[in-house]
C-alpha cells in the first residue's frame, strides 16, 4: 500500500510545554487507520499537526517534518511555500463534537464553498446536494434546508459536518473521535459511512473505542505520552483478547 502521510521527528508544544516529542510514523493511503492511546497522550495534537490546525491555538510551536501525498505529489505541510488554507481544504477534518456553524443547513455547506473556493452559487448548491447524499442526509433535510443547522439531532449534525468537509473534496480525512458524542445508532451510521468512504479517501481516525477499531480499522497505531508510537499487526487488533492484552501492556 502506498504511503499517504509521512511524519518525521515531529514535535509540538504549547507555551513551552511539549505535547508531542520527536515522533515519526508513516500512514498508508486508504484505511481507515486508527490512532488510539490514553487521554492526553497527544492523539488530537498529532492529528491537528497534519493540517496545521494547532497553529490556531495560542502558544503553539511545531518542529520536524510532515509530508502529505496530495494528488500525485508529496507536499511538505510546513514549507514556507505551502498555502495553509489550501492544505486544510485538501486535508479535511471532522471533530469530536458536531461543530455546526450558526447558519442554515444549506449555508453550512455552501458558505465554505463560496468563500474558500469562490464557487458560483449553482455549483455550490449542486455540490452541497451531492455531499448531503453522500452522507445519506439529503432525504432527511431536503425540505428544510433553510432551517438553522442547530435544529438537527446530534447524529444528523455530525453527518452535516462530514458532508461540509466532503463538499470541499479533500484527499485526506482526519477524524477526531467522530462518534464520541453520539448515541449507538448515530455512531453506527458514522461507522458505516467511514467504511463507504475508505475507498475514496485516506482516513485517519482518533478513537477511544477499541471495539470500533476492531470492526473497521485497516491498521492501528497506539500512541504513548506523545513520544512513542507502536503499530499493531492486523491479527493482533482483530482478536479481541489479544488486543486487550496488548493494550494493557502498552498503555
Amino acid at each position: 500500500m502506498k504511503a499517504a502521510i509521512r511524519v518525521d521527528k515531529l514535535s509540538v508544544s504549547f507555551t513551552g510545554k511539549p505535547v508531542i516529542r520527536s515522533l515519526s510514523l508513516e500512514i498508508a493511503s486508504g484505511g481507515p487507520t486508527f490512532l488510539v492511546g490514553r487521554s492526553g497522550s497527544g492523539k488530537t495534537t498529532l492529528l491537528r499537526a497534519l493540517n496545521r490546525l494547532n497553529e490556531c491555538l495560542p502558544g503553539c510551536a511545531t518542529g520536524g517534518q510532515v509530508e502529505l501525498r496530495l494528488g500525485e505529489q508529496w507536499v511538505d505541510a510546513y514549507a514556507a511555500t505551502t498555502s495553509i488554507e489550501n492544505l486544510r481544504r485538501r486535508v479535511g477534518m471532522l471533530f469530536q463534537s458536531p461543530n455546526v456553524l450558526p447558519l442554515s443547513i444549506l449555508r453550512n455547506i455552501e458558505m465554505p464553498l463560496k468563500v474558500a473556493l469562490s464557487l458560483p452559487a449553482d455549483e455550490a448548491e449542486a455540490r452541497a446536494e451531492q455531499a448531503l447524499r453522500e452522507v445519506h442526509l439529503w432525504e432527511e433535510v431536503k425540505d428544510r434546508l433553510s432551517q438553522a443547522a442547530s435544529t438537527l439531532s446530534g447524529g444528523q449534525q455530525q453527518r452535516l459536518c462530514l458532508a461540509r468537509t466532503l463538499a470541499l473534496r479533500p484527499e485526506i480525512l482526519l477524524l477526531d473521535e467522530p462518534t464520541a458524542s453520539l448515541d449507538f445508532k448515530a455512531a453506527q451510521r458514522i461507522e458505516d459511512l467511514l467504511v463507504e468512504l475508505k475507498s475514496r479517501y485516506t482516513l485517519l481516525v482518533v478513537s477511544h473505542s477499541l471495539g470500533q477499531a476492531r470492526r473497521i480499522a485497516e491498521s492501528l497505531f497506539v500512541l504513548h505520552d506523545g513520544e512513542r508510537i507502536e503499530a499493531l499487526s492486523r491479527d493482533v487488533f482483530q482478536d479481541r483478547d489479544a488486543l486487550f492484552s496488548v493494550m494493557d501492556e502498552l498503555i
Binding site: E85, R88, F95, V115, S146, T165, L168
Partner: protein, 289 residues
C-alpha cells in the same frame, strides 16, 4: 438547616429582584402614560402647522415636537453611522488581533473612555469648536455633526466592549472549524465569528442607540437649541427630544406645558422602543441566514 434557610432566602431575594425590574418599568411607563396621554394630540407634534404640509413639503413647525423628533432621529442615525463600524472593528481588533502589551494598553484606553462623564464629553466638543475657530476653521460652530461626534465618543466603549466580549466568549471549536474548512483568519471572523456573536454585538448596538437617544449633557454644549426647526445640514443647529423635555420641564409656564413635557417623554420612550425593536428584528433575521 441554616444552609437550607439561606438558600430559600436567596431564591426569594432573586425572585423579588427579578420582579422589581418589570415592576419599575410598569410604574415609570404608567406614570408617563397617565401624565402624558392627554397631551398626545396632533398639535403636540405639529403645533398650528398642517401635518401634511410639514411631512410632505417641509413646512416649518413652531410649537410642535416634530423638528425635535427629526433632530433626534438624525442624531441617532449619524452616531450609529460613525460609532458602529468603528466600535465593532475595534472590538474585533481587541478580540482577534491584539495580544500582550498592546491588548492591555488598548483595553485600558477603552475603560478610560467608558469612565468619562457625558458632560465632560460635551465640554470636549465645545473646546474643540473653540480651538477650530481659532485655528483651522474660523466659521466653525456647535452643530449636529459635532454633537454626533461627541456622542460617538460616549457610546464607543459600549460597542467595543460588547463586540470584544461576544467574540472572545465563543468556543475555540468555531475558530478551528472555520480554519479546518480552509477559511483564512479574516474569513473566519467575517463569516463565522461575527455571525455567531451577532446577539452580543447587537446588545451593544442597542445600548449605544439608547444612550445616544437619551443623552442631554453632551448635546447641551455642542449644538442643540430650543427652536431651530428641521436641521438643514450637518453644520446646522438642531432640536432634540431629550433637550426639549429638559427645557419644558425646567422652564414651563403652565401645567399644559409640563404635560407636553410628559407627552414628549412618552414619544421619546416609544421612539427608542421602536428602534430597539427594529434592531432585534434585524438581529433575528441575520441569525438564521
Amino acid at each position: 438547616m441554616a444552609e437550607r434557610r439561606l438558600e430559600n432566602i436567596a431564591v426569594v431575594f432573586a425572585w423579588l429582584s427579578a420582579l422589581l425590574v418589570p415592576a419599575l418599568l410598569a410604574v415609570v411607563t404608567g406614570f408617563l402614560l397617565l401624565r402624558g396621554w392627554p397631551s398626545l394630540k396632533v398639535a403636540l407634534w405639529f403645533g398650528d402647522t398642517p401635518p401634511l404640509a410639514a411631512l410632505l413639503y417641509g413646512a416649518p413647525v413652531f410649537d410642535g415636537i416634530w423638528p425635535a423628533c427629526q433632530g433626534t432621529l438624525y442624531l441617532i442615525a449619524l452616531v450609529a453611522l460613525m460609532a458602529i463600524p468603528l466600535g465593532v472593528a475595534s472590538g474585533i481588533f481587541l478580540a482577534e488581533y491584539a495580544s500582550g502589551r498592546s491588548k492591555r494598553l488598548f483595553s485600558f484606553c477603552v475603560e478610560l473612555l467608558a469612565g468619562i462623564p457625558s458632560i465632560l464629553m460635551g465640554l470636549f466638543g465645545f473646546a474643540l469648536i473653540l480651538f477650530l475657530r481659532r485655528t483651522l476653521a474660523p466659521e466653525a460652530n456647535t452643530c449636529l455633526l459635532l454633537s454626533a461626534f461627541c456622542l460617538m465618543l460616549l457610546v464607543l466603549p459600549y460597542l467595543i466592549s460588547s463586540t470584544r466580549l461576544a467574540i472572545e466568549s465563543l468556543p475555540d471549536a468555531l475558530r478551528l472549524t472555520g480554519a479546518s474548512l480552509g477559511l483564512s483568519h479574516w474569513q473566519v471572523i467575517r463569516r463565522i465569528l461575527l455571525a455567531a456573536s451577532a446577539p452580543g454585538i447587537f446588545s451593544g448596538v442597542i445600548l449605544a442607540i439608547g444612550r445616544a437617544a437619551e443623552d442631554t449633557a453632551v448635546i447641551l454644549m455642542t449644538g442643540v437649541v430650543a427652536n431651530a426647526g428641521t436641521p438643514g445640514s450637518l453644520s446646522a443647529k438642531y432640536e432634540a427630544l431629550p433637550f426639549h423635555i429638559y427645557y419644558l420641564a425646567a422652564e414651563y409656564q403652565s401645567p399644559a406645558e409640563l404635560a407636553q413635557a410628559f407627552a414628549s417623554a412618552l414619544v421619546l420612550l416609544c421612539l427608542t422602543g421602536l428602534l430597539l425593536l427594529a434592531a432585534r428584528r434585524l438581529q433575528a433575521r441575520l441569525e438564521i441566514k
